[in-house]
Amino acid sequence: MNVKYNTEDKLLVLELTEEIDHHSTEKIRRRADYEIQRHMPRKAIFDFNGVTFMDSAGIGMVIGRYKMVSMLGGKVSMINVKPSVKKVFEMSGILKIIPIEECA
């Protein structure tokens, strides 16, 4: 995962670079939580450009980070979500609270 932070806008971009499943979410979660707690962003964006596969583990991973960012007063959204990944998110209904944006 690559992390970009813009101090001026308090914008945290988390670029996911691997397949997301139960195995890989452990590492993603630890790193994302560290960055969120360190920066306390006004907005956190998950960039899915590098994600070619995701199963339901991704739903829990995104919701967990959403809870943390919301608690700190920030917003969460997602960009560059491929159709196969979007299909999994659509099943869960979380797109109503964590929207997919066209671009950053």
């Binding site: 397949e19 499943d21 139960h22 195995h23 199963d55 339901s56 869960s92």
Partner: protein
């Protein structure tokens, strides 16, 4: 009646989480001989990943065991059987309900069975408490060959 199994494979591996990717990629490679679309292949990979993850975190929980996958290609469809010898499921209907999870602390969404059901054409669960669980899934791969007109669209 032409009723012959066209191809078959089976796979056995340890219930380690880094085998989740191995399992879905192997099944996808086997299924690719039916020339599926990218979407069909991705649906199968997702369903396999859900079933294998269930074996690891629910079936075997803190123990380790063997996960078996049997895969058959048959009359333009793929049949996948994923089983473990883990602790089994007490109430299958409850387990299948969307958003039901026994592991919210692991940030599990409770969408595994729902995804398997909707991404595949058929999904059955058999389980005996203390003996294990078997998930059987089926997906029809739509024939893209123009000569093949007698498929159910």
């Amino acid at each position: 009646m032409k009723d012959i199994t066209e191809n078959e494979m089976s796979l056995e591996f340890l219930s380690k989480s880094n085998n989740e990717a191995f399992a879905r990629v192997t099944v996808a490679a086997f299924v690719s001989q039916l020339d599926p679309t990218i979407e069909e292949l991705s649906d199968i990979k997702t369903a396999v990943s859900e079933a294998v993850t269930n074996c690891i975190i629910h079936g075997y929980e803190d123990t380790q065991g063997i996960i078996k996958i049997k895969c058959k290609i048959f009359a333009g469809s793929v049949h996948i059987e994923i089983s473990d010898n883990g602790k089994g499921i007490k109430d299958i209907e409850e387990a299948k309900a969307p958003l039901f999870t026994t592991k919210p602390n692991l940030e599990r969404s409770g969408m595994g069975f729902t995804i398997m059901e909707s991404f595949m054409d058929d999904m059955q669960v058999e389980s005996i408490v203390g003996l294990g669980t078997k998930v059987t899934m089926k997906k029809l791969i739509r024939c893209k060959d123009e000569l093949c007109t007698n498929t159910t669209e």
